[in-house]
Point group: C2
Chain length 428, copies 2
C-alpha cells in the first residue's frame, strides 16, 4: 500500500539525496549494518551520501518508535524484522519525517548531526542480516530455457514441472558474503566431454548469476497463500550466485547443485524495503499454462527494477555486459515463498530467497556468462578483450534501481573480485 | 584413538548403566539438552537410567575442565563443541572418572546426587544442538540402486557420478525436530502417471529414511582431507529424513528434492560422541572404481552400528520392518565432509550431515518404505495389517547401537507419529 513515504515530491535536507540519479533518496531509506573504523557494528539507514546511525538516533530521542527501539541496538536487522510489519511501517514513517526537508529537528542541529550521521565513504558495510537459511530459485523463463538447452538440449530445455512449480533448491547460507568480499576460485570434481575419468581441478568455468534476493521478515509454519507470502517479505537486495559451471555439470544429477554453488554468494549491503518498492509493482508475464490455484497471482507482485552487470579486468575499465529487468521473472517471490511453505516447511526471520538468474529475451539481457557466451562458444566483448567465463582478477558488479518520477530507488552495488585458486593444504 | 574411557571392563555406580542391553553405559556418555518440568533447558549426560545435569555438576565442583566449563551453561551443545577436540576429551575423561564405580565423590553423597542426577523418565529432551545447516547425502550403494531403479529404471539407476562423488544436497535446517515431535502429513504438488495435470493434494506416499546424522564440531573454510574431516566430527545421532515420495517424484528434476524433504527431519536426542564409537570403526566396502585421491579412505571411518526401524499403527503393537547396519554405506561421513569442503564452502559448528538412507543388500535391510514395498508394489507385513507407505497415526521408531563386549553404545530412540493432514488456512 502506498503511503506518504512514497510521495515522489518529497525532498530531504541531505542535499545529495535529492540528485536524480542518487540511489538513496528519501523515498528509499534502505537498512544496513555498518561500522566506523574502531567502533562496533550497528544498524544504519542510507540517505544520499550519508548513513544515519540508528541506535545513536534512538539515543538522541529522534525516533519515537516504542518497543521496537530495542531491536535497533542489534548489529543486524533480524531482531527488528521480528518486530513485524506494523513496526516496519512506524520506523519508516519516523525516518521519512526526520529526514524530510521541512523538519528542522536534526537539520538545524550541527552537533547532533555530527553524532548521528556518518559520510558513507567513512563506513564499512557488513551483511545486513543474519542469514537463517538460503534458498535459490530457477524462475526466469528465458534463463531456464537457455541453461536447459545447454545442459539437456533444446528439446528437453524446460523440465515438465517448470511451468507449474517455481523450482528451487536449498543453497548454502554459510557461503553468503557482503559485496566487496573477494571470492576465491574453487577446486572441484569435474569431467569434461573429453575426460575419460573425473578430475579434481580448479574450476575453469566460473560464473555469476544476476539475482534479486528477498528477505523473509515474518516467520510461518503452514502453507501460505501468495498474498500472505507477499506481506511476509521485509525487503530485497542484489544477489550474485557465483557458480562453477564445470563442477555443476558433473555433480547436479540427480540431487541438484551442491559444491558448484557453495563457494560464495554475494549480497548488496543495503536492504531496500518492500515499502520503498511499492510504487514499482508490476504483473508477472502472461501464463503459458494456468497455475494451480494455490500459486495463482494475487495482484502485481514483481517489481520494475532495471538491472545491469559490469565486468572489469584487473586494472582495467569496466564494461556493462548485461542489461535486464526483474520484471522478466516468470514467478514472483511471493509465489516462490508460497510454494516453499506448502509442505509446512518452517520459514524463519532472515531466510534469504534468491529469485533465480534474471535473463531477458535478448542476448544482451542474459544474467550469466554461461548464457552470454552460450556455454563459452561466443566470447563476450569487454574493454580490451573478450570473456567466456570469469578470469582471475576480474571484478563483477551488479547494479539495480527502480526509476521513479525524478528519483530512483537504488540498490547500490553488489561486487566481488575473483582471486586465483589456492593449492589446498594437505595433511598427508 | 582408544583411551581409558573406552575400556570394556569399566563399570558405573549407576547400576542401570551396567546392564548389558542398556544404551547408556559408562563407555557411552552421550550429551543431550533437557529440562525438568518448570525449569530451564540445560545440558546433560545420559548414564544408565539417569541424566547428569552438567551445569549443576560444574557448580558442585565435580568436573574440573578449565575454561570449557562456561560453555556447559548453554542450553545446547554448540558452545561446548566450539571449545574444540581437546576440551571434548577432557570432559569425557572427567565424566568417566566421576561416574565410574570406584569413585566415591558423587556415589556416596546422597544430597549431591539428588541435585545433579535426574531420573531419565522425569526429564523432557530437546534438540541437543542448534542446527547451523543441514546437508543430506545419498551414499548407500543399495539405496541408490533401489531408488534409482524406481525413479529412472534399472539401466539408469546409478548416476554416472555416483561412484566418484558422495552425492549430497542441502536440506532444510528449520525442519529438524527432536524425537517424539509429531509430524503432520504435508500438502504438495503431485502428478501421478495417470494425472493429466499436476494436482495440489496431501501426500499419499509419505515415507521415512533411516539415517545416521553427523555433527560438525570444528569449523573450516578450505578443502579438508578425509583425515581432517574425520577429526572435525563431534558425534552422531539417529536421523529420520521424512520424505513425501509423490511430491519428490514430481519436483526433483532438475534441482533436487525440496518440499518433499522439508516437512520434518527427526533426530534422536542423545549425541553419541565419536570418542565413544572409536572401538567400532570399520572400513568402507571395496571400491568398484578407485576414488579420486582427495576422497580416498584414510583408515576405517565407518562404524559397525546395528540399526532397525519399527512401525506401530495407532493403538497397535510395533513390528520391526527393517534391520541393517551403518557399515553398509559406500561413503563415510569423513568422505562426505571432505567433499562438502572442496569448493571452500564454510563449515560451521552445528552443521548436520545426514548419511543418506542406509540400506543393506537384502530386502529386509532397506531403510525406507519406498524400497521395502518396492514403490508400493509389495506391501510390508506388520502386526495386524500391511503397509506400503505411512498411514495416519503410525509411529515410526529408529533404534541403533554398536555392540561391545558386555556393553553397547546405544543411540536411544528416534521416533515420530504421523498426524493427519490439515486443510490449509486461506486468506481469500
Amino acid at each position: 500500500m502506498l503511503d506518504q513515504t512514497n510521495d515522489p515530491t518529497l525532498r530531504s535536507w541531505v542535499d545529495a539525496a535529492n540528485v536524480a540519479d542518487c540511489d538513496f533518496p528519501i523515498q528509499n531509506l534502505p537498512y544496513g549494518s555498518f561500522n566506523v573504523r574502531g567502533t562496533q557494528r550497528r544498524l544504519g539507514v542510507a540517505i544520499g551520501d550519508q548513513v544515519l546511525d540508528l541506535p545513536a538516533a534512538v539515543d538522541a530521542g529522534l525516533l519515537q518508535i516504542g518497543d521496537a527501539a530495542g531491536a535497533l541496538r542489534a548489529s543486524t536487522l533480524n531482531a527488528f524484522m521480528a518486530e513485524g510489519p506494523a513496526s516496519w511501517s512506524v520506523l519508516r514513517l519516523a525516518l521519512s519525517h526526520l529526514l524530510s526537508s521541512g523538519n528542522a529537528l536534526l537539520r538545524d542541529d550541527d552537533a547532533l548531526r555530527a553524532r548521528v550521521l556518518h559520510p558513507m565513504e567513512s563506513v564499512t558495510l557488513h551483511l545486513p542480516f543474519d542469514i537463517a537459511e538460503y534458498t535459490d530459485f530457477y524462475a526466469s523463463r528465458h534463463h531456464a530455457f537457455n541453461v536447459g538447452s545447454m545442459f539437456r538440449g533444446p528439446e528437453n530445455a524446460l523440465p515438465p514441472n517448470w511451468l507449474h512449480i517455481p523450482i528451487g533448491y536449498n543453497g548454502r547460507a554459510s557461503s553468503v558474503v557482503v559485496s566487496g568480499t573477494p571470492v576465491r576460485r574453487p577446486w572441484g570434481q569435474v569431467k569434461g566431454s573429453e575426460d575419460s575419468a573425473p578430475r579434481f581441478a580448479p574450476s575453469a568455468r566460473f560464473d555469476i548469476e544476476l539475482e534479486i534476493g528477498a528477505i523473509v521478515g515474518v516467520p510461518s509454519d503452514r502453507p501460505l497463500t501468495v498474498g500472505e507470502a507477499f506481506e511476509n517479505i521485509f525487503g530485497y537486495v542484489l544477489l550474485n550466485d557465483w557458480s562453477a559451471r564445470d563442477i555443476q555439470a558433473w555433480e547436479y544429477q540427480p540431487l541438484g547443485p551442491f559444491q558448484s554453488k557453495a563457494t560464495a554468494t554475494s549480497l548488496s549491503p543495503w536492504v531496500v524495503t518492500a515499502a520503498a518498492l511499492e510504487p514499482f509493482r508490476v504483473d508477472t508475464p502472461a501464463r503459458e499454462v494456468p497455475l494451480p490455484p494455490h500459486l495463482r497471482d494475487a495482484g502485481p507482485m514483481l517489481y520494475d527494477i532495471a538491472l545491469d552487470v559490469a565486468l572489469a579486468p584487473e586494472g582495467g575499465r569496466e564494461t556493462v555486459i548485461s542489461r535486464t529487468n526483474y520484471r522478466e521473472m516468470y514467478y514472483s517471490t511471493a509465489q516462490q515463498l508460497a510454494h516453499h511453505s506448502t509442505c509446512g516447511c518452517p520459514m524463519r526471520v532472515g531466510d534469504l530467497l534468491g529469485s533465480g538468474t534474471i535473463s531477458g529475451p535478448e542476448p544482451g539481457s542474459r544474467g550469466s556468462l554461461l548464457e552470454l557466451s552460450w556455454g563459452g562458444r561466443d566470447p563476450v566483448e569487454i574493454d580490451g578483450g573478450t570473456r567466456t567465463f570469469i578470469e582471475d582478477g576480474d571484478t563483477l558488479t551488479l547494479r539495480g534501481h527502480a526509476q521513479g518520477d525524478g528519483f530512483r530507488i537504488g540498490f547500490g552495488e553488489c561486487c566481488g573480485t575473483l582471486l586465483p585458486v589456492k593449492t589446498p593444504q594437505r595433511d598427508s
